[in-house]
Amino acid sequence: MTSSTAIETTGNRTVGMGRIAVAEGPICLSAVLGSCVGVTLHHRRSQRGNLAHVVLPRCSSQSSGAGKFADTAIPQMLRWFEQRGTRPADLVAKIVGGACMFGNGGPMQIGQTNVDVATQLLRDVGVRIAGKDVGGTSGRRITFDCSTGLVTVETVGNPCRTL
């Protein structure tokens, strides 16, 4: 498993498909989501945060980057915090995305499966999920503020929502 997909950033950044970005302080991480899910982890006291742009629920290849799959991205994100002395119980997670943009949602109804697997993995390790904006048929643009942990969700034709 390629582990070098966590991008440590010191400036605002858009996180592409299958990537994880990590930051500290007044940095905003953003992503545009369709069937993919954005998973954020935040530690309030240190103002550290991660955003994973997850494409698929379960790992099917050891040569892909960890950020591509929910079941490799979330452990990678947790390891980053663990290396900095932060336990899963001290983190807050938010999950956004997993839409069905057209038709029947693509192979395996991938959007909903991404949400379900990410949710279960976080619960299994004791991370509190403080907000979700998932499903539906619209795309989402999210902005994750690492200083506050707030996630702003923009969808076409609807007011912004903050998690």
Partner: protein
């Protein structure tokens, strides 16, 4: 464990030939549909790393008007026809022989004009690929979508993303009387479709 396999440059060249032939047929259909105004040319057949797809295709977080057709079979793929708002409205107005509307909401008639455009293009494209690959390809009814282009493309990429970290995309551009329009057709084939196309070219060589 699944091996990740991605085409080499020679294979891309082979696929380029086949897509160029399909684009030629789609261009003829588009020309007839628009009374000779609009034609298509094949921009590129590319292999792009998954994390760079939206940036490389200049999608990012732009809101686009799109028509999507799906080929749900194993030998299949997704076709996404994209316009910005202005160009979408202009096309609908031209087809309906009406002035361009400034309403914020699209009328059912305007949506119908665009979805029919997608249908005509999609069917011409698929008929050509059916002939070239000897696989019957039947597109879905078109979906009219106004949303972030990147969001729609994510779902279109899923079949490829299951087995590959790079995705193959065929991009086609539109022209009106020599001027390039801000419209695109993106065709994202499944891996089985890619193999069928490569086999078709190799067997005809």
């Amino acid at each position: 464990m699944t091996d990740i396999r991605c085409p080499e440059n020679a294979e891309l060249e082979v696929l380029h030939q086949l897509f160029a032939s399909a684009t030629h047929d789609a261009s003829a259909a588009m020309c007839r549909w628009t009374d000779g105004l609009i034609t298509l040319t094949l921009d590129e057949v590319r292999e792009i790393p998954l994390e760079d797809v939206c940036t490389e295709l200049n999608l990012d977080d732009d809101l686009l008007t799109m028509v999507v057709l799906s080929l749900a079979e194993e030998v299949g793929g997704e076709m996404v026809l994209t316009f910005d708002e202005k160009n979408g409205r202009q096309l609908a107005a031209s087809l309906l022989r009406r002035p361009v509307t400034e309403d914020s909401d699209w009328s059912d008639l305007e949506k119908s004009a665009l979805t029919e455009t997608g249908n005509i293009l999609g069917c011409a494209y698929m008929n050509a690929l059916t002939r070239l690959t000897n696989h019957e390809l039947v597109p879905s009814a078109p979906y009219f979508i106004q949303d972030y282009g990147a969001s729609v493309l994510q779902q279109a990429l899923m079949a490829q993303a299951l087995t590959c970290d790079k995705v193959l995309i065929c991009r086609t551009g539109f022209h009106r009387e020599g001027e390039e329009l801000n419209w695109r057709v993106l065709f994202v084939p499944t891996e089985a479709m890619r193999k069928a196309m490569e086999n078709a070219i190799h067997s005809s060589a």
